[in-house]
Amino acid sequence: MIEVIKSGALTTIQDLGRPGFAQLGIPRSGAGDRGSLKLANRLVGNAEGAAALECTLIGPSLLFHDDALVAITGAEIPALLDGEQMALNSAFSAAAGSLLELATTSAGLRSYIALRGGIEAEPVMGSMSSDLLSGLGPAPLTAGQMLATGPSAGEVPAIGVAAVAAPADEPLLRVIPGPREDWFGDRALELLAKSSWEVSSDSNRSGARLIGPELPRVRSDDLLSEGIAHGAIQVPASGQPIILLADHPTTGGYPVIAVIASADLDAAGQLRPGQQLRFALS
């Protein structure tokens, strides 16, 4: 068992989500940075989609009651095991009685802690992910909570540290214009691509709100609600865009000017309040 000593700012259980239910209003949910979740799982010999912990900005403190094999990926974050700094993107053993303490991320927002065997939780519609928009899946971690892991299955790979770049200071996210670029003038797409945008503190697992120049619309009528894709850049009446992330509502009535390329969705999941970013049209 693993005892949660401190929960951190927001630590949830995440796997790769519950696809296939959007027509019922249920977001896919799952890890905000899927690549980092998969890597953490691979490093401890789990299936890529096993449930792990997703930490947000300030990580948790965990006390291991049994020996464990651990890997931490995603955002850059100091991780101390009984006071000793542990390498990220690498598996390490934690003996029974040891304390793992994560501090605050220095680049990126979301860190993943995978444990060999995977975190066990009650699956809801095939997934253990916490969907904070819908209130489906396990609740965020609280101090004093005990976590269980499942049986160990796969082989632990013989790699030291996986070579992955830390989240960029000012990421450049590729976007594909549309589906509603015609609700905006050409100038809006140009502004989107040429401006530097700041991530608002009013961001969460459903979306990252951006602060920057107003994106002018050429149509002022209301859009009939339509399905929205992960990574859609929705522009409400304020003209300030919102990037829709893992727990995004399945339909919406604001026009989507562009959608982030799937290869850059994980980087979008690492956007941190106060950070600057840019877009490139592709």
């Binding site: 027509q23 249920i26 009939l224 399905g227």
Partner: protein, 206 residues
């Protein structure tokens, strides 16, 4: 050629298909569901659109066009839609002001609201939140200027052309005209949502 008005890219894994009206959306959704092609992960109806999401790159527009034509052909054989009757009470806090807004007595509003044949157009906002189409054009109040921070589960609400029942307590900006005791969404049930797109809904006063 398919009946799609347009096929728009929505990123590299999705396309948004614009159709003429919600019934065309239901037909195409049902046809695509019946002949589910590989890698097609989500089929998401909107009011007059259908969003298709693939687990990998979306096919080229010409290929999507073929997929739609095929689904429209197979959709002709689709069974009758589900029908459901829901018992409701007209006891919402906005009943009187909304009746006044529409220039009706509350009795007239209730009678007109009950007289409609509703159809679930699409689901969104929260799990199981069904947008019922087919409402009386005289009953189309705008949303509240200030959304409520807490609308109770089961609230019967109207806004613009839509009627809905809040599946669980949540913030909400619609006008509350009544309530319904039927559980609308339960993750433990299969299917978890009582109302799915295309279902014909009749409201019955308690």
């Amino acid at each position: 050629m398919s009946n799609a008005r347009s096929i728009r890219r929505a990123g590299d894994r999705s396309v948004l298909i614009e159709l003429d009206g919600n019934e065309a959306v239901q037909r195409l959704a049902a046809g695509l569901e019946a002949s589910r092609s590989e890698g097609l992960e989500e089929i998401v109806p909107g009011h007059e659109t259908l969003l298709l999401v693939w687990s990998e790159a979306a096919p080229a527009v010409a290929e999507v066009e073929q997929l739609i034509s095929g689904a429209e052909r197979s959709a002709k054989a689709i069974a009758e839609p589900d029908r459901i009757a829901l018992t409701v009470r007209y006891d919402g806090p906005d009943l009187e002001p909304i009746a006044a807004f529409c220039g009706l007595s509350t009795e007239q509003l209730v009678a007109r609201h009950l007289a409609c044949d509703y159809r679930v157009g699409f689901i969104g906002f929260s799990p199981g939140f069904a947008y019922l189409l087919g409402g009386d054009p005289a009953l189309q109040p705008p949303r509240l200027a200030e959304p409520r921070t807490n609308v109770p589960a089961g609230a019967l609400a109207i806004a613009g052309p839509y009627t809905a029942i809040y599946p669980r307590s949540s913030p909400g900006g619609w006008n509350l005209i009544g309530s319904c005791d039927e559980p609308i969404f339960s993750a433990e049930k299969n299917p978890p949502a009582l109302l799915t797109a295309g279902t014909i809904v009749r409201l019955v006063a308690k």
